[in-house]
């Protein structure tokens, strides 16, 4: 979080909270607004991840890479897919932050990007913990209800 806020902090702000006039937004509110906007950006990235993995071919590509880094032609092995289509899928996976490329001279290898995985993990972990509590409450309610 600290780094992200830092990036936003660099931008010059017309309303400097420390120089707030009586009519401008309270410093606390400004800080909160900034926090929310930063987090919304992070939320959109999460959405990118799920969109990227919504496509069955991209899921297969991603699963192959989960086994270790591969070059584009090794990735195409066993998948009926053209080279341009593969580049497009890789571009989507890369822009979602799920896959990164490693260049070694003329050769490019693709591998899973650990940061992307961490982001999926956070979202899933939150709701994996959420639903059992809700279901417990639902079960209690069902016991209380008349047939």
């Amino acid at each position: 979080m600290g780094r992200r806020e830092g990036e936003f902090g660099k931008q010059p702000h017309a309303k400097d909270p420390s120089a707030a006039t009586p009519r401008s937004t309270a410093p606390g509110q400004l800080v909160l607004a900034r926090y929310i906007s930063v987090c919304l950006c992070a939320g959109m990235v999460d959405t990118d991840i799920f969109k990227a993995l919504a496509d069955p071919t991209r899921r297969k590509v991603f699963e192959k890479l989960a086994g270790g880094s591969l070059n584009a032609s090794a990735l195409r092995d066993g998948l009926e897919i053209s080279q341009p289509a593969m580049s497009q899928h890789l571009a989507v996976l890369r822009s979602a932050g799920l896959v990164r490329e490693q260049r070694q001279g003329r050769f490019v290898n693709y591998e899973v990007d650990p940061d992307g995985i961490a982001s999926i993990g956070t979202w899933l972990a939150r709701y994996r913990a959420y639903w059992p509590k809700r279901i417990e409450a639902l079960s209690d309610l069902l016991k209380d209800m008349d047939q």
Binding site: A42, V45, S95, I135, S139
Partner: protein, 117 residues
Amino acid sequence: MSDTVEPDADAALVIEYELDAPPEKVWRAVTIPALRERWLPDSDLAGAEPESTITGEEVRYRLRESEPPFRESHVTFRIEPNEAGGTRFRIIQETCDIREKQPQPANSNRRCLMRAA
């Protein structure tokens, strides 16, 4: 590359539970607002009304996180009888694509934010 996404294709989280109560009873607990509120509070939803309903089988709500970043998602509850006379209760949660209707700028720096996450 296909851009068409089948309805179930981007399910992000699917959890299945077996409940002791019969499906009709579970249906009431999930759809009658006063009952639903007792286990799935309004504060966790983007709207108290279901987004869609197939009577007795399926109901879909829009969820909203109660704290920042307030991400929204769809949740579908599927209800069907199980072998034990109870209910198989399936939770299917999908993220909403909030950028769906917006053009994407080529110079977006979203990836940088991703890195910092």
